[in-house]
């Protein structure tokens, strides 16, 4: 699809205006860069330290990828089990909701205590915060199947598994992708949070180190990198969605 420049222009203009105001304020007020550095400094220093930042970005990306994959596998399995068995639904749903009430602040140090300073506790935190929207996306999607559609398939002699594979599963994909897009925006933050608690490398620990040495400019540079990763992953998820379920967008756009 061609995205006309006019559609991204307002966002770019707003960002430029904010940056200009920020730059002007820091210069006019003479505020110390340890407190609030101007965006130009963030850019220059961030660029100067790009090698270091990149070496801290890679572990974060790895943790995010592993944790998110884990959440997709577990979330999908849980959703299918919930869809097939009422007993599983009754048993699992309260546990799922409760898992979202767990304060990550409290659990992350425990995970580090149990699994060490390696990649495992970070991936688990990512999985913990992304598992729920993925599962709920699937479950809602499965449940949105019309009764008449299942009836039609049964009239054709379909087994329960065939009804699931041919109607419930494809029909649930739009809802699953909605859940996935919400989940991916939590994923990177989850990894960075876990790194804050205890890590050798990663953007989270990088931010903490720079904060301790009053390099506010580098902290903000790392925040920018984090945001960029989140946006990129979100766009990638949307692109994947368009590739996997082209019929969904096409049929919606004609309805407008």
């Amino acid at each position: 699809m061609i995205r006309p420049i006019g559609r991204v222009l307002p966002a770019l203009l707003l960002a430029a205006a904010i940056l200009a105001a920020w730059e002007a304020y820091t210069r006019a007020s003479g505020i110390r860069p340890q407190v609030l550095p101007p965006p130009s400094r963030v850019l220059l220093e961030g660029w100067a330290f790009r090698g270091l930042i990149w070496s801290h970005t890679l572990p974060t990306l790895g943790e995010t990828a592993i944790g998110f994959s884990l959440a997709i596998v577990l979330g999908t399995a849980a959703a299918v089990a919930i869809d097939f068995s009422r007993a599983v639904r009754r048993a699992l749903y309260p546990a799922l909701v409760a898992s979202q009430a767990i304060p990550v602040v409290a659990v992350a140090p425990l995970l580090v205590l149990w699994f060490g300073f390696g990649i495992a506790p970070k991936a688990l935190v990512v999985a913990l915060v992304t598992f729920f929207p993925i599962t709920v996306g699937w479950v809602d999607g499965f449940a949105s199947t019309e009764r008449a559609a299942s009836n039609l398939l049964r009239s054709m002699g379909a087994s329960r598994w065939q009804v699931f594979r041919l109607v419930r599963l494809p029909g649930a994909l739009p809802s699953f992708f909605s859940g996935l897009r919400i989940a991916i925006t939590y994923a990177v933050i989850g990894a960075i949070f876990a790194e804050y608690v205890g890590a050798k490398r990663g953007l989270g620990i990088f931010m903490q180190l720079q904060q301790n040495s009053f390099r506010t400019d580098l902290v903000i540079a790392a925040v920018v990198v984090t945001a960029a990763i989140s946006v990129a992953l979100f766009l990638a998820t949307s692109a994947l969605e368009r590739a996997v379920i082209p019929w969904h967008h096409a049929s919606r756009e004609t309805e407008r």
Binding site: E146, A149, N151, L152, G157, L166, G171, T254
Partner: protein, 268 residues
């Protein structure tokens, strides 16, 4: 004497909804010979779709029996195999191309893909869908969607077709076109059809016999024969026998509803 293709006897059905019980069908009976076209007509919400679900084996009846070619099928595993069912909504799946929608029933039965596509493909021209095999359903007009849904139904080659208001959602002009078309193809292929409709003229144009149901709880108010050769074209509307049958159907519909017709509680 050979038994009728379809024989439905003594169907009762009630739904329990919390502490409320809704009696929907009360002793409904009907039959259709091979190659016969029978319409079921009745006020909205009287239980026509429920009756079809029971005949198709998708829903259990409180009492009653469905026989196909003399064999009792109610409650048998083979029940659904006698029927090809077209539900009230077209239910074309948006993620399947038109061809893949129409071969769905064959796919479920395990017919190889190439054979299934060949069988459905042979019907596309007669159903006015040639050239749309690889299109997605959202690109079809309302009339084409209904024809695609009907193609998906008939390609299963089951002995009896159950069509639940196939033209209910269409505009008057398209509906008339499709009625004439269905009149022609159903005689051409010799289908045995049970059709639900609200539309008295549609029933008269298409059917050998019309079963008129009362408001809920539905029972058979009258069965009216239409003594005209099929297929019929719209010109038949002026025929004397047509007008007599129409009067009979309208009378049965009115006699059935002691309360005003729109007080039947159905809503769509």
């Amino acid at each position: 004497m050979t038994p009728p293709r379809l024989l439905v006897r003594g169907i009762h059905k009630r739904f329990v909804d919390g502490d409320r019980t809704i009696e929907v069908l009360r002793d409904v009976a009907l039959e259709a010979g091979a190659g016969e076209f029978v319409s079921v007509i009745g006020p909205s919400g009287c239980g026509k779709s429920t009756l079809f679900n029971i005949i198709a084996g998708l829903e259990d009846a409180g009492a009653g029996a469905v026989h196909v070619d003399g064999d009792l099928v109610t409650g048998r595993a083979a029940h659904t195999e006698a029927f090809a069912y077209m539900p009230q909504q077209d239910l074309l799946f948006p993620w399947r191309r038109v061809m893949d929608n129409t071969t769905l029933g064959l796919e479920i039965r395990g017919v190889p893909r190439a054979a299934a596509r060949a069988r459905a493909g042979a019907l596309f021209a007669r159903f006015g869908l040639a050239g749309f095999e690889e299109a997605y359903p959202y690109t079809l007009s309302g009339g084409m969607r209904q024809r695609a849904a009907l193609l998906r139904t008939v390609v299963q080659e089951r002995p009896i077709l159950l069509l639940d208001e196939p033209f209910g959602a269409l505009d008057a002009l398209t509906r008339m076109e499709l009625q004439e078309w269905l009149a022609a193809v159903s005689s051409e292929f010799g289908w045995t059809v049970l059709l639900v409709t609200h539309d008295v003229r549609e029933a008269l144009l298409l059917s050998d016999r019309i079963v008129v149901l009362t408001p809920r709880p539905a029972s058979v108010a009258a069965t009216i024969a239409v003594p005209l050769p099929r297929p019929r074209a719209l010109e038949v509307l002026a025929d004397r026998a047509f007008i007599e049958a129409e009067t009979g159907v309208l009378r049965a519909l009115r006699a059935g509803s002691a309360v005003p017709v729109d007080g039947s509680g159905g809503g769509r």
